[in-house]
């Protein structure tokens, strides 16, 4: 198989978990984290988690949610970054090579700086997605034998206020806070990285 075909195939395979975004991805990871059925059971036991409850202890949740988000989302970003890397003009890459830059130096001084806007864009969207976390903690709390609470994420809290306690005003206040945090963080990244500068 040619390197080009292999690269395309790998990108497609990395992208497949994107089809399992949402509930399906959580289901898959519930199984992956249950040592009685998981294909990574030996790894889980090696880390000292002999039971499902131990594997999803409250202290692990942040890492687990980050891992699920990475699993479903990274493939798409790999495709995007591949496109962005291909957009770097060939003469710049050529000049770097003639000047004697190896792969590491080219990556560090040419490719990463030229991908800056894409990276900022990815950081903003990934952060925004993280602040909106709902389905993952909601399902984990239903499946966790009482380990994880119903109020892990801000969106869950908003949901509980609006639909369990009939307090729409509190829910709205939480939504506004969420919006403000997302906007402020996006603004910081945009200004610090000179996102809108003409390059």
């Amino acid at each position: 198989m040619s390197a080009r075909r292999l690269s395309g195939l790998l990108r497609f395979l990395y992208y497949i978990p994107g089809a399992l975004a949402g509930v399906a991805g959580v289901m898959v990871w519930l199984f992956m984290l249950d040592p009685t059925v998981s294909p990574a059971a030996s790894l889980l036991r090696l880390l000292g988690y002999g039971t499902f409850t131990a594997a999803i202890a409250p202290g692990h949740l942040a890492i687990l949610f980050a891992m699920i988000a990475f699993w479903t989302g990274a493939g798409g970003w790999i495709v995007v970054m591949h496109g962005a890397l291909n957009n770097i003009p060939l003469d710049i890459m050529e000049a770097a090579r003639i000047d004697g830059a190896g792969p590491w130096r080219t990556a560090r001084h040419i490719q990463l700086p030229m991908l800056r806007k894409w990276i900022v864009y990815m950081v903003i969207l990934a952060f925004a997605a993280g602040t909106q976390l709902f389905v993952e903690p909601q399902l984990i709390s239903e499946a966790s034998l009482g380990v994880a609470g119903r109020d892990y994420s801000v969106a869950q809290l908003s949901y509980d206020f609006a639909f369990q306690n009939n307090n729409v005003n509190y829910a709205a206040a939480i939504s506004v806070e969420l919006l403000v945090v997302s906007l402020v963080v996006a603004a910081i990244f945009v200004t610090r990285s000179r996102f809108f500068d003409a390059s």
């Binding site: 497949i16 289901m27 249950d34 908003s158 939504s175 969420l178």
Partner: protein, 313 residues
């Protein structure tokens, strides 16, 4: 992946369609090749193993799931048994959920395309009052976190007594500013105005020019908008979870979440109508099957097409 990431990619490729010769890989040492190979394989394992495991889990009994090698094939008979058990859960309700998902996503797709594509076209090609304001609003709404809109949407739809009807999810799904913006970018950067002028001189009406010239040229972008709309709506959980109280209205996503609460290994308080783990795995597979099929068909566009950048291999 968030659909909005494409906006800039589309803008890049649409604005500067250049063709470059293939880039040669930089000659690097054997150590570099081995290292990158290992990284690629590690990622491959991480991304693919859970999907492969899920496919195999549906062919096993619960006992086999615990006892056998995680990567062994169970039997067709066990798959059949799981299917029978799953469909008998509340009498074919899984099929009803899948039908609901398809209905909601398809209706929303039709409305999105019928409204969104002409809207993007009008904002790109026509001058009218409020055009700039509309464009800015589209952008702002596109960047708003969807979760923050669920509560106001609920209140709004409650006001017009649509909660619990299929429109309570289809209408919010059909509101798709990203699709409008994507078509706007395409029409404003890649569609030559001379082409439309020529069509009008040849006697095309304004609508005729849109339908016969602009639409066929924009087919790849329309397909892309349709793809993202369909996948986003099919995998949405929060909105139907809030809007649809009756279990016979659930889409598959909310349905399998309900199944989860009846799996004793994950929820010891599950009632008598228990669901076994392989049945849950099968239900998950059924719920993602349409998206996987769409992925396979859209693969050319997604992987090799638009996103490959200007230096297309």
């Amino acid at each position: 992946m968030r659909a909005d990431t494409l906006v800039r990619a589309v803008r890049n490729t649409a604005a500067q369609p250049r063709v470059r010769p293939r880039r040669r890989p930089h000659p690097s040492g054997a150590a570099g090749t081995v290292l990158s190979g290992l990284v690629l394989i590690a990622f491959l394992v991480f991304f693919v193993v859970p999907v492969g495991w899920l496919l195999l889990a549906a062919t096993k009994t619960d006992a086999q799931l615990v006892r056998d090698n995680p990567f062994s094939f169970g039997s067709w008979h066990a798959l059949r048994m799981n299917w029978d058990a799953l469909t008998s859960f509340q009498g074919d309700t899984i099929l009803l959920w899948l039908r609901n998902s398809a209905l909601y996503a398809f209706l929303a797709l039709v409305i999105t395309l019928v409204l969104g594509v002409p809207a993007g076209y009008a904002m790109a090609m026509m001058e009218f009052r409020g055009r700039h304001a509309l464009l800015v609003i589209t952008l702002v709404v596109m960047l708003m976190p969807a979760t923050t809109l669920v509560v106001p949407l609920f209140l709004e739809l409650n006001e017009v007594h649509l909660i619990g009807s299929l429109w309570s999810v289809v209408l919010p799904y059909s509101f798709y500013p990203f699709g409008v913006y994507l078509t706007y970018i395409y029409f404003s950067t890649a569609l030559p105005r001379d082409l439309l002028a020529a069509a009008r001189i040849d006697g095309c009406t304004e609508f005729g020019a849109f339908r016969r010239i602009a639409l066929p040229l924009a087919a790849p972008i329309i397909a892309l908008v349709g793809f993202f709309s369909f996948v986003a709506n099919w995998t949405n959980f929060f909105l139907p979870y809030v809007m649809l109280p009756q279990s016979d209205q659930y889409p598959a996503q909310v349905g399998i979440a309900l199944l989860l609460t009846d799996v004793p290994q994950f929820n010891p308080t599950a009632g008598t109508a228990t669901v076994l783990r392989p049945e849950l795995a099968l239900a998950t597979l059924l719920a993602i099957a349409p998206v996987l099929v769409v992925f396979l068909f859209a693969q050319r566009y997604l992987i090799a097409g638009l996103l490959a950048g200007a230096n297309k291999e």
